[in-house]
């Protein structure tokens, strides 16, 4: 069992692990565009978070475009918002067949590896988690999300071939992330939440598991994040073998905790926008207390935001969240 997982399972307290980097980017006076393009700035933002917030771990930026960009997708990089993919890169057997699995020197991948390396080397106070997109969500970004949802039934061979290429790349990328010395990786697979449990198993879990098998060990933990799951595909998430699962705000945490084995760490799920970004001190406190009450007694629970905190969340709300966790623990 990994140290990170052990530390959680043995803790008497509820630990806090919000997924965030934007507060760090903003505190440094940098733009999102700068942080997602420059590994040094990215690292500084992670470092800021590690030093200024009492959390059990910190994360790199949840950027769901770096991998698609490496494959050749066109990326829109707004100054103050998270980047996005524009258009469709592949659409049939031929284009999927000729799609090359990119090497790790493409697009912004080297900058992401740099940020992870600097963070792992220099942040000593707490674990640093890398991040990447999940295979089905990546395939959806390259193929168009609505189209892939239909073609899992109409063109399953094309979709599987694309998923294999995405997975091959993600295995390589995760190996490189692991080599930077981080504690683990958060694999973000939101689009798989649109599938039934069976389909999620076939078109996401099978491929996520290949990544898990390739990189997870006592020193490197995989956290599988799926904020699209509303409760219907938790079994498929568990079957990935990831030692920790991260859930979005659309799910009931108590139900999830009942469903998940005790040795799987379950992380979630305060609304990143409704609670963190738009909430007031008192509503943040209330929501945090409520979730802690509902999840009390589950030693495998870690309290978190349901997804990455978006840009411009009031720092005060994050502090109130962390203070509430602390004061509820005594």
């Amino acid at each position: 069992m990994s140290n990170f997982i052990n530390q959680i399972l043995q803790s008497e307290k509820t630990l806090a692990f919000p997924i965030m980097t934007h507060p760090g980017i903003e505190a440094l006076g940098k733009t999102v565009r700068e942080a997602v393009s420059d590994g040094e700035i990215h690292y500084q933002a992670i470092k800021y978070i590690s030093e200024h917030f009492d959390t059990i771990a910190c994360t790199s930026i949840m950027d769901l475009t770096v991998e698609a960009e490496a494959f050749g997708a066109i990326i829109n990089l707004p100054e103050h918002e998270v980047p996005s993919v524009t258009g469709r890169l592949v659409n049939d057997l031929k284009s999927v067949g000729s799609l090359e699995v990119p090497t790790l020197d493409k697009g912004r991948i080297p900058q992401y590896l740099l940020a992870n390396k600097l963070a792992a080397e220099n942040i000593r106070s707490k674990p640093v988690f890398s991040g990447c997109i999940g295979p089905f969500s990546l395939a959806g970004r390259l193929y168009d999300m609505s189209e892939i949802l239909m073609d899992i039934y109409i063109e399953p061979d094309v979709v599987n071939q694309l998923l294999e290429k995405c997975t091959e790349f993600l295995v390589n990328y995760c190996r490189a992330l692991k080599a930077t010395g981080t504690t683990g990786v958060i694999i973000a697979e939101p689009a798989a939440g649109l599938l039934s449990d069976d389909d999620c198993m076939m078109y996401s879990t099978v491929f996520v598991k290949q990544i898990v098998d390739a990189v997870q060990d006592d020193n490197f933990t995989v956290i599988l994040h799926n904020c699209g799951n509303t409760g219907h595909c938790t079994n498929a998430m568990i079957a990935s073998g990831a030692r920790a699962l991260h859930f979005g705000n659309a799910i009931n945490m108590e139900d999830v905790l009942k469903q998940c084995p005790e040795n799987v760490v379950v992380i979630g799920n305060l609304n990143p926008v409704g609670v963190f970004k738009q909430g007031t001190e008192s509503s943040v406190r209330k929501a945090t207390q409520k979730l802690m009450t509902e999840t009390a007694g589950y030693k495998n629970f870690v309290i978190s935001s349901g997804c990455d905190l978006p840009p411009f969340v009031p720092e005060e709300n994050i502090r109130v969240f962390l203070e509430t966790v602390k004061s509820n623990n005594v």
Binding site: L149, M150, Y153, I154, L195, D199
Partner: protein, 223 residues
């Protein structure tokens, strides 16, 4: 005969059987789909109106119901909408020559700043299946683009989708700009974070929690 074809067509749409070539659903593999059956129905004298009302719309209602009960998921619903689209292609000439009336023109887009389009696409396909002509403006649609589309289609109804709490507020300036040039244009909004209260606050005329609610609202406009 005709009722048998309508039943078959209805099943194709309910279970997402697009055409003969489509392997989905497995139990209908190798059988004709919505595409072929619609052709056959029209050739054997079934009217476009019957096809629309007695097969397509009723089937989509069932699909919407199953979706809301978590019995099917987004892929199945998209396939049903696609099967309906395969049938609609054959009805287009009748809409064009006026022998069947379209209910109206519906302009649809995801509001600027927002790139989520699965729900919008689904709603668009279902509105089309319900007998409307749909103009899909895509994602991240700026105010000017909505306004331009309304100028070109002054009688159209407008639908706006948003999936982010940070972009749903962008719907208000879109609605204001549309109403400024065309006060009578009706606007309906939808998307997961919205509510009917929010829709009313930003000056929308309608709100649909799901496609069926949206279509019921649209149909009331034409009643």
């Amino acid at each position: 005969m005709s009722s048998e074809l309508l039943t078959k067509l209805s099943e194709c749409v309910e279970f997402g059987k697009i055409n003969l070539a489509s392997p989905y659903p497995p139990q209908m593999k190798g059988l004709p789909g919505a595409d072929e059956i619609t052709k056959e129905a029209l050739e054997s004298g079934v009217t476009p109106g019957e096809i629309l009302n007695d097969a397509l719309i009723s089937a989509m209602n069932k699909v919407g119901q199953k979706f809301s009960e978590n019995k099917i998921f987004v892929p199945q619903m998209l396939l049903s909408a696609k099967a309906m689209g395969a049938s609609m292609i054959h009805l287009k000439p009748f809409f064009a020559n006026g022998s069947v009336q379209r209910k109206g023109v519906f302009i649809l887009g995801t509001v600027f700043g927002d790139l989520h389009d699965i729900g919008k696409n689904l709603f668009g396909m279902m509105v089309e299946g319900a007998g409307w002509e749909v103009i899909d403006l895509g994602i991240d649609v700026k105010i000017e683009k909505f306004v331009e589309a309304v100028k070109q289609n002054p009688t159209a109804v407008v639908g706006i989708s948003a999936l982010l709490t940070t972009t749903m507020v962008n719907m208000k300036p879109v609605i204001e700009a549309i109403k400024a040039i065309s006060p009578d244009t009706k606007v309906i909004v939808g998307g997961a974070p919205l509510s009917s209260d929010f829709a009313a606050q930003i000056g929308a005329d309608g709100y649909g929690k799901n496609p069926q609610e949206g279509i019921v609202w649209l149909d009331k406009l034409t009643a």
